[in-house]
Symmetry: C2
């Protein structure tokens, strides 16, 4: 059988495989065959034991669900198991979170997403000794279907999310078995940092988590983080669509490195080579030149920076905005800050469960913001830092520690975790940034900060082909490579501004987390490409 399979593979692919790989595969196949044999043997044994078991039809391992039948059976979700359902006979599908056998009883905690419930299987007229033993032997993380009666409990079950009821199990079937040995324990993975140390219990380090992301993502904390992140995207888009924005899709494979050529990934593209877009910048501006007026996009951006910090990824999700304005780029700042405020409010009002869940493992202060959003000029920021003892030049960019310090100073003075720093020095911004008309050392550009870290960088853009050419040359950019971009401005272009937001940073900083890898499902950095 194994051999046949290997021989059945496409000839080309087969030739491409090294002999070593082939050997490995044969070995794998042998292993799989042995395992199958072992399982068959176990099944036979079980069948024999079953023969004198009155409950033998009430438990067991289901054949793999291959859509054999359309079963007309409603499944109740764990989160919906409340006292209103008391005495009802229901079916539930869930994972075995924990299992504890105790004499003739077996207590299971069943888990589905952020919810858990206690389930009891006890020897009696609905369960045999064999059935309780079967339940007790099930591996953690297996998915089971149970038929049970919902029972109110006298004393709250503190260890479960569903504290007022438990399930009295009458049937139990395995839908999908987990291997016995888990690469990490879920209870370790949700333990608050520090707490483990005191009690001599384990916590799980970041690489173990990321190497076994499928399991790490099952924790209540991860479930909450990524549900909330889905909410950030939804609130971002809904707010902008209400404001008349159009969603656009911009190409990620581009012919020229847009911003000077550093930090860009190269792709082989048929007989030539191309690059991965470092931002949708140029394309969203082209959409403005093409009269879409207000556009946004949500998509991956790629940075080939060899930075191994808590807040840098080589691939992250950009929430990008570009908008034509009438007379002043502050019209755009107001649109963006209002969008951020709508996101903050939406998260606060709709995702309180998720926020609480994350806070249990990673405590943080609630996120504070003002209406309207605080806007400071760069000069003011520098003055605040100098007053706090920092030495820095007028046209010097903010270092990360200074950024954070300024965040603390702003929080102290204005009581907000979100603010805009406006009018950056021209020298520290990209070539397409519009210079300040009143002071050539400054520019019509801005960053936005959450809890003292940058989440958005934006500016009024140069919409005049001639000035853009001058600015590109000043930055030493090869004009030939950005010809299509500059040409976009030759046929009438409205004044416009915009910005790009890092999704993972917004989620991280809103929740007061400390590493962007916690808010990227499958993070990419210079050292990580898997899973």
């Amino acid at each position: 059988m194994t051999k046949e399979n290997v021989q059945g593979a496409g000839e080309e692919e087969q030739q491409a495989q090294s002999k070593k790989a082939l050997k490995k595969q044969q070995k794998e196949a042998e292993k799989a065959a042995k395992k199958a044999e072992k399982q068959a043997k176990l099944a036979t044994e079980q069948q024999e034991a079953d023969e004198d078991d009155f409950a033998k039809d009430r438990y067991g391992i289901c054949p793999m669900v291959q859509s054999q039948q359309k079963l007309d059976r409603a499944l109740v979700r764990v989160q919906d198991l409340t006292p209103e359902k008391a005495e009802q006979q229901i079916w539930v599908r869930a994972r075995i979170h924990t299992s504890r056998a105790k004499g003739k009883q077996c207590f299971l905690v069943l888990r589905h997403q952020q919810s858990t419930v206690q389930a009891l299987i006890a020897v009696g007229d609905r369960a045999s000794k064999q059935m309780v033993k079967f339940a007790a032997n099930l591996t953690k993380e297996s998915i089971i279907d149970v038929e049970a009666v919902v029972k109110k409990v006298e004393q709250k079950i503190e260890s479960c999310s569903q504290q007022d009821v438990e399930l009295h199990v009458e049937r139990i079937f395995v839908i999908s078995q987990s291997e016995a040995r888990l690469p990490l324990q879920l209870e370790d993975a949700v333990r608050p940092e520090g707490e483990g140390d005191e009690e001599g219990r384990a916590t799980v380090n970041q690489d173990t988590r990321l190497d076994n992301r499928v399991i790490d993502l099952r924790t209540t904390t991860s479930q909450a983080i990524f549900r909330l992140q889905s909410g950030v995207c939804q609130l971002f888009r809904d707010t902008l669509i209400n404001k008349g924005f159009v969603e656009i899709q911009t190409p990620k494979i581009i012919s020229a490195a847009s911003e000077g050529g550093a930090n860009v990934f190269t792709v082989s593209y048929f007989k030539t080579s191309a690059y991965l877009a470092q931002s949708p910048q140029l394309y969203k501006q082209m959409c403005i030149c093409a009269d879409f007026d207000k556009v946004f996009c949500v998509g991956p951006v790629f940075r080939a920076e060899d930075s191994n910090t808590h807040r840098h990824l080589t691939e992250f999700v950009g929430l990008d905005i570009e908008m034509a304005f009438n007379y002043h780029y502050h019209e755009v700042i107001d649109s963006i800050t209002d969008t951020m405020v709508q996101i903050f409010k939406g998260l606060r009002d709709r995702f309180q469960t998720e926020i609480q869940t994350v806070n249990k493992q990673y405590p943080s202060e609630p996120f504070k913001f003002l209406e309207p959003t605080l806007r400071l000029e760069y000069k003011e920021g520098v003055a605040m830092l100098r007053a706090a003892g920092v030495e820095m030049g007028d046209e010097e960019d903010l270092s990360t520690p200074n950024e954070k310090l300024l965040g603390r100073l702003v929080k102290e003075k204005y009581d907000t975790d979100f603010y805009v720093l406006d009018k950056y020095p021209l020298a520290v911004r990209p070539f397409y940034t519009m210079p300040d008309p009143n002071n050539p050392k400054y520019s019509n550009s801005y960053d936005m900060f959450m809890r003292g870290e940058e989440i958005l960088s934006g500016a009024q853009r140069v919409h005049d082909a001639q000035l853009l050419t001058e600015r590109a040359m000043h930055h030493g950019i090869d004009l030939e490579k950005i010809k299509a971009y500059i040409d976009s401005f030759r046929y009438g272009a409205p004044p416009h501004a915009g910005g790009g937001i890092g999704l993972e940073r917004v989620t991280m900083l809103y929740l007061g987390l400390h590493n962007v890898r916690q808010t990227s499902m499958f993070p990419r950095d210079p050292k990580r490409l898997t899973p």
Copy 2:
């Protein structure tokens, strides 16, 4: 000035530039300087002429909008210019769509997005001869601000979208000038195919359009197409979020070519190399294994296929769905078809203007669909094709012509442009497709079609690590490369199914267009990487 700029450029970048490029840049700069000089001269001339012009403050070229001031002036949108505004004095910002001088008058058609309005500037007490001449000389596609009185007209202006009013212009200022020579004419670009031939008028070929996409996207047709496409995305997500789906973000840079290694783009990744994801398939399945239950994502997918057809792109936008089900994968088919139906209804109800606009240039029949969606088995499709004279084997895949023919046969018989073909032969589907439990030659997989072309491919997936290993080996896939993927199923995995939809195809086929490049803003194919 020019020299200084070049010397001011970063040393590293300067060294990287070839001498040739430097020369080119100097030439560009000289050209720009000459142009600036010429413009300055023209401005001086105009100023001199202005001196005996009573209307000299009523027109002119504005300084570049650099956010010099926050002007408290409301701008009325062209689409809002209706008879209710008659006799009001208003400001409008728009492009000059066409211009026609006639004695002491100048007629302009002003355009903003899908809307146009006629504007009249006539010599009188609000406009001088010089002012009318100034207006008449403005280049098409320039953006202007006009102050005007809205006037009802006796006879409908057939050539404009705003047919009941015109503007009597009292002030006119240029915000952004277009170069005089346009690479394509907008009126040519919206002419229905065929119509040009008869009247000896030009139409614009696809490459010219795409090479000058910023202008081509300004046409009413393009504006309508991409507004509607934004609607497809929004309807897709809103429907799924209402169904309890979570939006996920999956990595595009991956360590191993997921589906056998063909047709994949290679990226250089620091000291190693990586690939661009051909689909989010493996990641959305991992999310299912991680208990998210119902997930979707919208993002770019990459295919290094050297196909130059009307419906293939090397980069397109995937609308991807993955969903755990209880007992039968038809639960998932029902969710997807309902989502498609919600999209069709939403487009029909909310985007009628856009549909009409596109139909003017590209006539097509309204898109028809049934509720519930028609679902045929592959066998039935083959039988229908055979009855129509096609010779094909039971386990043979559908060719593109047969796909289209089947679409026509289905339309004739069932009067629908949308249907599902279920239970494809196992042999023509990817390794992770669940075999049909009742017939090993078939599988629990399906495609969905719009107007006879495939828009979605999907299936129940194998959720058992052992069967998955066997299937991968059968397909000759190197197990080592998909280890992380297979391992995801070792710790309990719910049965699940899903599918991936091509956004550009949905837009194309819904609107009855004939090339996917019309529904991709900046299409990528083996021959096109720019703009």
